[in-house]
């Protein structure tokens, strides 16, 4: 069971268990992580699942798709190189312990 560590804007950490094949977004909604609204349910339509992936984990992720790249421009918080729509990050054993930061403007 891969774990995800969500870091809130105030620095508090919330650890969430996820099942293999689930997305980081699903790990968030399953564990009531605030700030990941995920209105479209993972259909790459809403950009309300924006996170900043912790630097040490960035290299472990496959590249962003073109649509994800474009959608990232719509997030409420200015995106950076570490920005991802977390419904597009599929979890497996290699991502166990991945750390992501929740943008402060996302409610």
């Amino acid at each position: 069971m891969p774990r995800v560590v969500f870091v809130r804007p105030d620095g508090t950490k919330q650890e969430a268990d996820a099942s293999d094949g689930a997305s980081v977004m699903q790990a968030a909604t399953a564990n009531l992580v605030p700030g990941i609204v995920a209105e479209c349910g993972g259909e790459l339509s809403c950009a309300t699942c924006h996170v900043f992936v912790d630097e040490q984990w960035l290299g472990a992720l496959p590249a962003r798709s073109e649509d994800e790249e474009e959608m990232l421009e719509a997030t409420s918080e200015e995106p950076t190189d570490a920005s991802r729509l977390c419904c597009q990050i599929t979890l497996d054993a290699s991502l166990d312990g991945i750390v992501v930061h929740i943008p402060k403007t996302q409610k």
Binding site: T29, A30, G41, S45, C46, A47, E70, M71, A74
Partner: protein
């Protein structure tokens, strides 16, 4: 029969759809620790409906993929989930609801999230026809699955989003599809003529027989009671193996009405999702709420609206009032055509098309009122959608020539 004591701090939610499921999650996130009961008439865990006419119908998603939250969440969060259970009455004086089996549940706050049901086509014999389908629930899909097979002839009554999405999936699965729309264009209630024309072209290119200005006058039945053909005013008959009726939604407001709450095309609520009874709130498709952008009231049928009202109601119940301010948005997927809309296009006085609707499958339509960008339909351009959202949020004043100029990125107009 088990009768609950009346003194309780329990929150009871009626309706286990998008709004109800989002509400119980939002309530716990807002810090409410007390008992919460979610009563839903449908069996199973609350699920998202959009995939019913998209990935689920096409077989790309399973029923589990549709769950709004994983089943374990309800237990972990101590949410008393009662599905397959209908609420039959509300007693506002005693502050309890009555379930179908007679049980009473008392509440401190009651949240009505009853959504709505598909509008029925009133025609003799239709209700009994086994091959006439509506699309609102998982059960509706289950009922039509075995007829939704390659080569079957599908007649879709109604050219709205649900009808067109079903038509798209049907073509991809290999059915023969005819769409029958009474008005002069599809999507007439929700979009500009140019956007309607675009969708008519795409569906025609994909092999759908799109008929607008077409009045359905009756049905021909086979001996087993199923529909064999749809009869049109022109005298023509459209032979069909199955019929999908997509002519809109009727909000479920009967409970509220019986309880004496105000109903006006939806349960009347304020911007905090409160009805006139301070103990009763309502959220989602079943509500008529104040329209911040245009004034007056509106009723919306969309997931973002259900989710937003769920959050607003959770805040209200936990004592921190946060008004509904979000700008409505919506999406629709048909074939490779991804539509994202932002704002409400009603009441526009000018439509500006960026790109072209006559060829290709990507463009944006901006709806202006008094020179301000009020809404946009963006097809296959997440980048333009993001910018459009910001333009609409800012009620930007942008010259139509600038919106049209493809050499200028929309971002620069912000």
């Amino acid at each position: 029969m088990h009768i609950e004591p009346t003194a309780t701090d329990r929150i009871v939610v009626v309706g286990g759809g998008q709004a109800g499921a989002d509400f119980v999650a939002a309530l716990r996130m807002a810090g409410h620790q007390g008992p919460v009961t979610l009563v839903g008439a449908e069996p199973g865990y609350p699920y998202a409906r959009p995939p019913l006419s998209k990935a689920y119908l096409s077989g790309k998603a399973t029923a589990e993929d549709l769950y709004i939250r994983p089943p374990a969440m309800y237990e972990q969060q101590g949410i008393d989930l009662r599905t397959g259970t209908r609420v039959t009455a509300i007693d506002r004086t005693a502050r309890h609801v009555v379930l179908a089996d007679g049980e009473r549940l008392s509440y401190a706050h009651l949240v009505l999230a009853t959504g709505g049901r598909a509008r029925r086509l009133p025609a003799p014999g239709l209700d009994a026809a086994p091959n006439v389908h509506y699309l609102r629930t998982l059960a509706d899909v289950a009922a039509m699955r075995h007829r939704f097979v390659p080569g079957a002839r599908l007649a879709v009554v109604g050219g709205g989003y649900v009808g067109l999405e079903v038509a798209a999936v049907a073509r991809q699965v290999g059915l023969d599809v005819t769409v029958l729309e009474a008005l002069p264009r599809v999507l007439a209630r929700v979009t500009a003529p140019q956007v309607s024309a675009f969708y008519q072209r795409v569906h025609t290119e994909e092999g759908v027989d799109i008929r607008v200005d077409t009045a359905v006058t009756g049905f021909a039945f086979a001996s087993d009671g199923s529909v064999a053909a749809v009869e049109l005013k022109s005298g023509e008959r459209i032979d069909a193996d199955l019929v999908l009726v997509g002519i809109g939604l009727v909000p479920d407001t009967e409970l509220a009405e019986q309880a004496g709450l105000a109903v006006d095309n939806g349960i009347v609520v304020d911007e905090y999702c409160r009805t006139e009874d301070p103990a009763v709130l309502a959220i989602g498709d079943c509500t008529s709420h104040p329209c911040g952008e245009h004034g007056g009231r509106r009723r919306l049928e969309s997931v973002p609206n259900a989710s937003e009202q769920a959050r607003v109601a959770a805040a209200t119940v936990t004592g921190s009032l946060q008004p509904y301010t979000a700008i409505p948005w919506f999406w629709s997927d048909q074939y490779d055509v991804k539509l994202q809309t932002t704002g409400l296009s009603t009441g526009y006085d000018e439509v500006v098309i960026r790109g072209t609707t006559e060829t290709g499958r990507s463009f944006a339509a901006f709806y202006l009122k008094d020179g301000l960008v009020r809404a946009a339909d963006v097809v296959c351009s997440p980048r333009d959608f993001t910018a459009a959202r910001k333009l609409v949020a800012a009620r930007a004043r942008v010259a139509p020539e600038a919106l049209r100029d493809l050499s200028v990125p929309l971002k620069q107009l912000l």
